[in-house]
């Protein structure tokens, strides 16, 4: 039966070339846009080098202080992390714990040419939590951090800029008025991965001023690697307990009384950062997924209407075929099935076209530099998203026309419409 449907579907498509063209155009453009969005989401959120352990990594990216009249929110400060997050390292479920500063612009002048880089300060544990593949050399160590040694790990692009791509380990690099000895070179990390991306990584203790050590707010993130996913809830609840403790020792208790923060997964961290009011009370990932789904529906609305309209006209064109099928005993349900399958065939064809188009579009996006170091690509996950969206789109745009088709009266259908 299905084979028969497919055969009819392909024949119909080949016969009405103009309609097939406009349907395919609409479907492929729609799925192209959705695929690009899916690729960006996947690129920002899925586990990938160096964040291969992101499924068991939590981060403290955000801290909000609230009082009756005032709200202050930013990244946590080093002082806060040292006092209230460092103790989490003692939990049995915690494998490693690291602090890392937010990226800071760092300028260097090389032979009169200006080089702008992003620099982050971190500790030796950072390299255990993240899975960097070293092109040469290796990470700096906890001892480097303890002794404030001026060492740096740089990314591939920075090696290209400063050393013309030649081996850099052992050489010195001068940025922002400080000189560092390069100990390792790693591949570029997309800037969307805000817990790991940078151009240069140097020990925290090499900071120009030591004022950071006492601060509650500003400039630092903590990364916590759990031994397994099962340990995450215990770490989260311990973090909240520490937060309550910290509330009792706030620096300015007259203005601020409560602290809000979370040990977040990457997705939760994005939610906390980008949703309105997210600093204090972030919506749950399920809610956000529902909203994203609704947004996708909203975007699909116009293309769906368009396809439904085209499908309806196609059906009227085939009234006599439907009449014959009904006369020879096809039930309404079979007809609905037939048409939905026909529509799925064309939707999947369009999706395939959209997928083909997505490849050059994504590489153009990578080349444009709009998302630094982006390596957007159609991988297997994105392909699956695309497939799911295409099937959804196909059913959505096929059901109503199919229902209308099945309602056609056989006699009228055979006679064609009156005038």
């Amino acid at each position: 039966m299905i084979r028969n449907y497919l055969k009819v579907a392909l024949k119909v498509l080949a016969r009405r070339k103009f309609f097939t063209f406009i349907s395919l155009f609409g479907i492929s453009v729609t799925l192209l846009v959705l695929l690009v969005a899916a690729a960006v989401f996947d690129h920002a959120l899925s586990p990938q080098e160096p964040e291969t352990r992101s499924d068991r990594t939590l981060g403290v990216y955000d801290l909000a202080m609230t009082g009756p009249h005032n709200v202050q929110s930013s990244e946590p400060g080093y002082g806060f992390l040292e006092r209230y997050v460092r103790p989490l390292a003692a939990l049995p479920g915690v494998e490693a714990l690291s602090f890392i500063s937010t990226p800071q612009g760092a300028v260097a002048y090389l032979d009169g040419k200006k080089i702008e880089s992003r620099l982050r300060r971190t500790d030796g544990e950072f390299w255990k939590i993240l899975d960097f593949r070293f092109l040469e050399g290796g990470p700096f160590t906890p001892e480097d951090e303890r002794d404030a040694r001026f060492v740096a790990v740089i990314n591939e692009t920075t090696r290209g800029r400063f050393f013309g791509g030649r081996p850099a380990v052992g050489k010195t690099i001068e940025v922002d008025g400080q000189r560092f000895r390069v100990v390792g070179v790693v591949p570029d990390v997309p800037q969307l991965r805000f817990s790991s991306a940078s151009d240069l990584w140097v020990p925290i203790s090499t900071a120009k001023s030591k004022l950071y050590r006492d601060q509650w707010m500003g400039g630092f993130n903590a990364l916590i690697l759990a031994r397994g996913r099962a340990d995450l809830p215990a770490i989260r609840s311990e973090f909240q307990a520490r937060l309550r403790e910290a509330e009792k020792r706030l620096p300015d208790p007259k203005t601020y009384q409560t602290l809000s923060s979370g040990a977040d997964t990457l997705f939760e961290a994005h939610i906390r950062q980008f949703s309105p009011g997210g600093h204090m009370n972030p919506p749950t990932p399920g809610r956000v997924k529902a909203v994203l789904f609704l947004l996708m529906l909203l975007f699909m609305l116009l293309p769906t209407l368009n396809l439904v309209n085209i499908n309806l006209s196609r059906i009227l064109d085939r009234a006599s075929e439907i009449g014959v099928r009904k006369a020879f005993g096809a039930s309404s349900r079979t007809l609905v099935g037939q048409f939905v399958i026909e529509n799925l065939v064309i939707t999947l064809l369009g999706a395939g076209l959209g997928l083909l188009l997505a490849v050059p579009v994504l590489s153009a996006l990578n080349a444009s530099g709009a998302l630094p170091y982006a390596r957007l690509a159609v991988n297997f996950r994105v392909f699956l998203y695309g497939l799911a969206m295409a099937v959804f789109f196909g059913v959505l745009s096929g059901v109503y026309p199919a229902w209308r088709m099945s309602k056609l009266h056989p006699v009228q259908a055979l006679r064609g419409r009156s005038v």
Binding site: V29, V33, G105, A106, G177, L302, P303, L305
Partner: protein
């Protein structure tokens, strides 16, 4: 005839309803994108109030924190004073000023004051007296800040014309008190009015603006993050390196990044226009898709209706009349969708949902969207209606 066609469109509402809905959503898409585009274009035409040519921005990283005491803050401002002097001592520098927020920064410092029970929002910045020279501000009445202002018992402020009009109406703002001081605060008084200051740059909307005098001789909660340097025309980019080194020597614990405002401006433009460009591209393809779809549907519908059209020809309609009829029907159909869209869209200014867009911009967006949708729909109807007028009545009415 129009009435007849209205009836025809209305009686086919089941078939036409979905088309109308499609036109309605297309209208909304065009409206949103075009209104945003017109909004930016309208902003771009307005005077900026300052000149960014040959001005360099020095961003400073100074490890300031919430635990800093007054002596630390005072020390920092003294360092800042030394930095400004150091910069001005260099030959290519005409003048230098410090500011909390730099021009072209998005976001920043906003505040509000209550006038006759009505709250007036404004953006603000705290700047040192040389700021007016560096940015080339035009003082239209009163005066700009002076070094001697430190001796005053109150805090001088300079406001722009928009804010002056909003707070003082037709009265002269100069010499007036600005807002009610809180018990522990010093009172503020307007000393001058500048023509305009749009901190966000050409693409941001006009807004009220207020300057506070940033004093470097005592601790305050103002934490300047930028130094703005006016360099002589033709200063080579290599001077950046020297300037950075000289500033670094004065404050070794701070970090400095220099960028010409022209580059900051370009980056701001890119940042604000990129979403519009992306949205515009997607909207363009959506519309192309809708246009092709409408063309197909219209064509197919007319094929369904050949007998009706043949009958009309038999009843004495000329080719031209059939052609016109089909075009008219399409226009009526479009009008339903556009009308529906306009009714929805008009709620936005009526309910004041998006405050920052002027009604005129809004109206322009509405008109543009209407024109675009009518044009699109007419284009889609041209070919099918030409086909329709070629219907041979004898063929169409032949019985099978």
């Amino acid at each position: 005839m129009t009435r007849h066609l209205f009836k025809l469109v209305w009686n086919r509402k089941r078939t036409n309803g979905l088309m109308i809905l499609e036109i309605f959503f297309s209208f909304l898409v065009v409206f949103v994108v075009s209104t945003l585009g017109i909004y930016f274009w309208d902003n771009y035409r307005q005077p900026l109030g300052y000149s960014w040519e040959n001005v360099w921005r020095v961003s400073m990283e100074m490890n300031q924190g919430d635990q800093d005491g007054d002596d630390l803050k005072a020390e920092r401002l003294k360092t800042l004073d030394r930095l400004l002097r150091e910069a001005e001592s260099l030959a290519p520098v005409e003048s230098a000023a410090a500011a909390m927020v730099s021009p072209f920064d998005q976001g920043g410092w906003t505040s509000a004051t209550t006038i006759n029970g009505k709250s007036v929002d404004y953006e603000a910045d705290a700047v040192t007296p040389k700021f007016a020279d560096v940015m080339g501000l035009e003082v239209v009445s009163g005066r700009w800040f002076e070094e001697a202002d430190s001796a005053l018992a109150w805090d001088p402020v300079v406001i722009d014309q928009e804010l002056a009009r909003a707070v003082y109406g037709e009265r002269d703002a100069v010499g007036q008190a600005f807002g009610e001081p809180a018990p522990s605060e010093r009172s503020r008084r307007v000393v001058g009015v500048v023509r305009e200051f749009r901190k966000g740059g050409e693409l941001s909307a006009r807004s009220n603006f207020l300057f506070e005098n940033l004093r470097l001789d005592r601790a305050s909660w103002f934490q300047p993050r930028s130094i703005l340097v006016k360099v002589r025309p033709g200063t080579p980019a290599q001077f950046e390196e020297e300037l950075t080194a000289r500033l670094q020597a004065v404050a070794p614990e701070w970090s400095f990044r220099i960028k010409p405002l022209s580059q900051v401006r370009r980056a701001t433009f890119r940042e604000l226009l990129a979403p519009l460009a992306a949205g515009g591209t997607v909207a363009f393809f959506l519309l192309l898709m809708v246009a092709l779809g409408l063309l197909g549907v219209l064509w197919q519908n007319l094929l369904q209706r050949t007998r009706e059209l043949g009958l009309r020809r038999a009843a004495g309609a000329s080719r031209a009349e059939v052609h016109r009829q089909v075009l008219w029907e399409q226009l009526i159909l479009t009008s339903f969708g556009v009308l529906l869209g306009a009714v929805v869209v008009i709620q936005v200014p009526l309910l004041d949902l998006v405050g920052f867009i002027r009604p005129a911009v809004f109206a322009a967006g509405l008109l543009f969207a209407m024109a675009a949708i009518y044009l699109l729909s007419a284009l889609c109807a041209v070919y099918p209606s030409a086909l329709a007028s070629r219907v041979q009545p004898a063929e169409a009415l032949r019985y099978e």
